[in-house]
């Protein structure tokens, strides 16, 4: 087996598929990037058993064959090289599935062991929903939701972003049980029957790194068990989280009698500063009239902080506690300068949203308060 390409081309493809390889694995099959030569095309593939990335790389070859190479070794070599022409010659050892890859560049020759593999049979999967999406729109939706995904495995469905697709709208929802984000955007296609899928956060974080083309295709299989993102020369396929997503709509407060308008960056900076003075990371926000007080204290150390900010507020005065980090994260994911905070009581969910929503986009972030000992 022989093929020739450039360092940059193959490094790009190896880098993309390696995103699917887990950081630590005890199964050597997951360590490998699989190379398949067929019809003059080199296809690279890597997986962790649940997520797979396939990429194609332009090569010059007349050969066919399938091998596996340890991804880390190949990637480290390619990273250390400058862009130049490179040839891969693969020879099989006698009476064995093992072989050696000889890599030749203008600088020298390098040898890496490999494993000869059989051509895998393609599994048949029917994708009955296909959406053409603008990459930047989808990535924006992912970026605004993924931060709220849960990272502990207690409720697996919360470890992903729920996508609801209906009519000409796609809605992303993420929650870790303490905060919740719902971001809604328009799409070009019309989906009549409401579709709900939960995409693991790890898949979306890989998508963020892979998606470079202007548009991408999102496909959902008929069993609603896997999703496929097809981009230029790269396909990311992954198993969906099949556990039911909690009924998030039921926890979004529909009534609120306290409304506060404020400058997003002012609150963000204050919360960051004041939060540092808390013993367990909680802050107290007191809104009364046109002034918001943000307070924190560490009673054990006798440390405390208080800042006052101007705001516009309607409703009865309220004192409410929060985990400062949740407020920081919520405010960091709203683009607008001015925000609206909707409150009802010190123990009900508080809604953060842009004061002037972007055209055809709806974003709300819920944060559950911390009941503070007074």
């Amino acid at each position: 087996m022989l093929f020739t390409t450039t360092i940059r081309q193959i490094q790009d493809a190896v880098g993309k598929v390696s995103l699917a390889i887990p950081v630590k694995t005890i199964d050597p099959r997951y360590d490998n990037v699989h190379l398949s030569l067929e019809d003059g095309t080199l296809t690279l593939f890597a997986t962790d058993g649940e997520i797979s990335v396939t990429a194609q790389c332009g090569v010059e070859t007349t050969d066919t064959g399938n091998i596996g190479i340890k991804a880390k070794t190949l990637q480290e070599f390619l990273r250390s090289m400058y862009d130049t022409s490179v040839s891969f010659t693969i020879n099989r050892q006698e009476i064995s599935d093992h072989g050696m890859v000889s890599i030749s560049t203008d600088k020298g020759r390098y040898t890496i062991p490999c494993l000869f593999e059989n051509k895998q049979e393609k599994s048949i999967k029917i994708y009955d929903i296909t959406l053409q999406l603008k990459t930047d729109e989808l990535l924006d939706l992912v970026q605004k939701t993924i931060f709220a995904c849960s990272v502990d495995g207690m409720r697996p469905s919360m470890m992903g972003v729920l996508f609801e697709i209906q009519d000409t709208t796609i809605t992303g929802v993420a929650t870790d049980g303490h905060r919740l984000v719902r971001c809604r955007k328009p799409i070009q296609e019309q989906i009549h029957e409401k579709q709900k899928i939960v995409v693991p956060a790890r898949v979306l974080s890989i998508l963020q790194k892979l998606a470079q083309s202007e548009t991408l295709t999102m496909s959902i299989d008929e069993d609603r068990r896997s999703v496929k993102f097809s981009m230029e020369n790269v396909v990311l396929e992954a198993a969906l989280i099949v556990e039911p997503y909690p009924n998030y709509e039921a926890v979004i407060p529909v009534e609120h009698d306290k409304l506060m308008h404020a400058q997003r960056t002012d609150i963000y900076d204050s919360v960051r500063r004041v939060g540092r003075f808390s013993s367990i990371g909680d802050i107290k926000i007191e809104v009364n009239g046109a002034v918001t007080k943000i307070m924190a204290e560490n009673t054990n150390e006798g440390e405390s902080a208080q800042e006052e900010l101007p705001c516009t507020f309607t409703g009865e005065p309220i004192v409410i506690g929060f985990n400062a980090k949740f407020i920081e994260a919520a405010l960091a994911h709203i683009d607008d300068k001015e925000i609206v905070i909707e409150m009802k009581s010190p123990t009900t969910a508080v809604i953060f949203k842009p004061a002037e929503p972007q055209e055809q986009e709806e974003l709300i972030i819920l944060v559950m308060p911390v009941r503070i000992n007074n």
């Binding site: 099959r29 895998q120 990371g281 985990n323 920081e328």
Partner: protein
């Protein structure tokens, strides 16, 4: 003057005898339920009022009693279960001594109504402190209804030694949970103080019955081990390695369906487990041993909670090999050791471009065992999503506070020397020091004149204990409200522990409400603990409180609950800690009032000086 020897009157003898069988309301309940089981009932309904002191009523649909048997049922040593002394070695029923009903009748007011046919007519006998009236006809469907009122009305001294009503109620619930497990075909219901507290519908398998008592998730994960040899047949349901705890929820042995206490069996199960997972863990188990009645003597104690085996050594080997083989079979299937959450959420994903992913999926569960495989914090490119607060098990709660310990009940470890150590540590911890975690148990920290070894669990327990006491003093700690309540499934006993200590749980930051059945919903949690440890924390707290092995100094409920909370919420053995977390723990520990012992008096740290190290290396 010499006292004369007199033969006691029958009524005094009965009361003395009753004392052996009937210690408390739970003993009455046990004896009455066993009678109903022996009568071949398929439904047994229990009603308890005033923790059993005012009323215990059992209604069953068993074989019932004829007027002749009913008339004799309250007599001492009157039984239908054995005829001669030889029968003692072939007992196939729960009761046999003919003591229980007589003993109960001697210390309470008992009414038994029973019918042995389907005519709708039966007979009733009424007894008042052992004085029985003649049997009279009474309407009753087939089966028996026993109503016991005013327990110990004629022995008030005994009443004085009873625990609180809550304690007695809990004892009855625990007894009930243990008693019903080997009888899955019987439908048990129980109401305590007008509230339906227990409902175990008839089931087909032991596992289903265990699920009724211990919860579905717990029962699902049990490993079934079997063995059969020389007239002995055993089935052991033992917890999986993930369910292993230092304090197991259940360790129940049933010999011929009778709940028995026996250390050999417990030891055999632990030994079999330790082959795979080390001796520090104690598995939960349910062991059902079927043995030829002639090989055991159940007539050891009136409460029948102990039996003698003819060959205890072979029993040990028999149970040991059953469990070892059962676990061994599972150990070779790696899937069994991935957590349910890792197994369920994702579907298999066939590959793209001709590469069959399913080939890899068989090992996906094994792969997923490594939590670090999915480390979003290193993967996400977006703004830091997860606060450090929520990703850490604890926070550096306090800084240095150099007062001396005000807790004389706990032993101090070389206080003079260690007070200097406290200053020294404090100085160092202002900046991060390099700590090393050893076997997920201890933290090794260099100090100016040597090294410190810290027990991570004991240290964190101390920090949380002091914090919990402080929270109790202040009334309530900061509590993070949850969008979606966490539902926890408990046994009736466990649920009643939480309900009885609701105020304490609230003071620590838990907001807990009844969710119906055996479940509770948690709508707020202490602000500093992760969601993923909430359920385990509550379970640990319950286990701690049920264990009852508290130091005398914890007789005050505040300290008992604070210690339970500290024990439940503290980082566990085997939990990996980052540098920051280790430093935060040390920081908090050396800010505690008494950093040298855990709430139970175990040392939290061991110090080794450079001199000592040098001596060991013969320098």
């Amino acid at each position: 003057m010499e006292r004369t020897v007199e033969v006691l009157s029958p009524s005094v003898v009965e009361k003395i005898a009753a004392g052996e069988v009937i210690e408390r309301p739970a003993s009455v309940l046990k004896e009455l339920i066993e009678n109903s089981i022996d009568a071949g009932s398929t439904k047994i309904d229990i009603t308890i009022e005033d923790a059993g002191f005012s009323l215990i009523r059992i209604i069953d649909n068993g074989s019932g009693m004829s007027p002749r048997n009913l008339g004799k049922s309250l007599l001492r040593h009157a039984t239908s279960k054995i005829q001669s002394a030889d029968d003692l070695f072939s007992i196939g029923t729960m009761g046999f001594r003919g003591e229980a009903l007589a003993a109960i009748a001697a210390v309470s007011r008992v009414t038994i109504t029973s019918s042995s046919d389907n005519s709708g007519m039966g007979y009733q006998i009424v007894s008042n402190g052992g004085e029985a009236e003649p049997v009279s006809p009474f309407e009753h469907p087939k089966g028996t209804t026993i109503v016991m009122r005013d327990l110990f009305f004629n022995v008030p001294a005994r009443k004085k030694f009873m625990k609180t009503r809550k304690g007695e109620q809990m004892a009855m619930l625990r007894m009930l949970e243990q008693l019903v497990i080997p009888f899955p075909s019987i439908h048990f219901t129980a109401s305590f103080e007008g509230k339906r507290t227990f409902d175990a519908p008839s089931a087909e398998t032991l596992r289903e019955r265990i699920a009724d008592v211990a919860g579905i998730d717990f029962a699902k994960g049990l490993i079934e081990c079997r063995n059969e040899q020389n007239g002995m047949d055993v089935v052991v349901y033992v917890s999986t390695p993930e369910q292993l705890k230092e304090r197991p929820r259940f360790q129940s042995l049933y010999v011929n369906l009778r709940r028995i206490d026996n250390d050999s069996v417990t030891f055999a199960v632990r030994e079999a487990f330790s082959k795979y997972l080390g001796a520090s863990y104690r598995p939960s188990f349910f062991c059902f041993l079927d043995i030829d009645p002639s090989r055991i003597d159940v007539n050891v104690h009136p409460t029948k909670q102990q039996v003698k085996f003819d060959d205890e050594r072979s029993l040990f080997g028999f149970i040991y090999s059953a469990v070892k083989r059962g676990i061994g079979d599972v150990m070779v299937k790696p899937d069994h050791f991935s957590t349910p959450s890792q197994q369920q959420p994702v579907a298999n994903s066939p590959g793209e471009k001709g590469v069959e992913l399913s080939l890899f999926n068989e090992n996906a569960a094994e792969l997923k065992k490594q939590p670090s495989a999915v480390d979003y914090s290193t993967i996400f490119t977006t703004a830091q999503p997860q606060s450090s607060l929520s990703s850490q098990p604890f926070q550096p709660l306090q800084l240095f506070r150099p007062e001396a310990s005000d807790e004389p009940e706990e032993k101090r470890v070389d206080s003079k020397k260690d007070s200097a150590l406290q200053y020294e540590m404090h100085e160092q911890i202002w900046d991060l020091i390099s700590c090393y975690q050893i076997h997920g148990l201890f933290i090794l920290a260099p100090i100016k004149n040597g090294i410190l070894l810290i027990d991570q669990h004991a240290a964190h327990e101390r920090v949380l204990f002091e914090q919990a006491l402080e929270d109790l003093k202040r009334g309530r700690s900061a509590s993070q409200q949850l969008l979606f309540p966490i539902v926890i499934e408990l046994t009736p006993t466990e649920k009643s522990v939480v309900e009885s200590g609701k105020d304490y749980f609230a003071a620590f930051g838990f907001e807990i409400a009844d969710f119906g059945g055996r479940s509770l919903s948690i709508s707020a949690i202490p602000a500093f603990i992760r969601d993923s440890v909430v359920v385990e924390t509550i379970r640990e707290m319950i286990r701690y409180l049920l264990d009852g092995k508290n130091p005398e100094s914890f007789l005050e409920p505040e300290k008992r609950f604070a210690a339970a909370f500290a024990c439940g919420a503290a980082i566990k053995a085997g939990q990996k800690l980052s540098q920051e977390e280790m430093n935060a723990l040390l920081n908090s520990l050396f800010s505690a009032k008494n950093p040298y012992t855990c709430p139970h008096g175990r040392p939290t740290l061991v110090r080794m000086s450079l001199d000592e190290l040098s001596r060991r290396f013969l320098r």
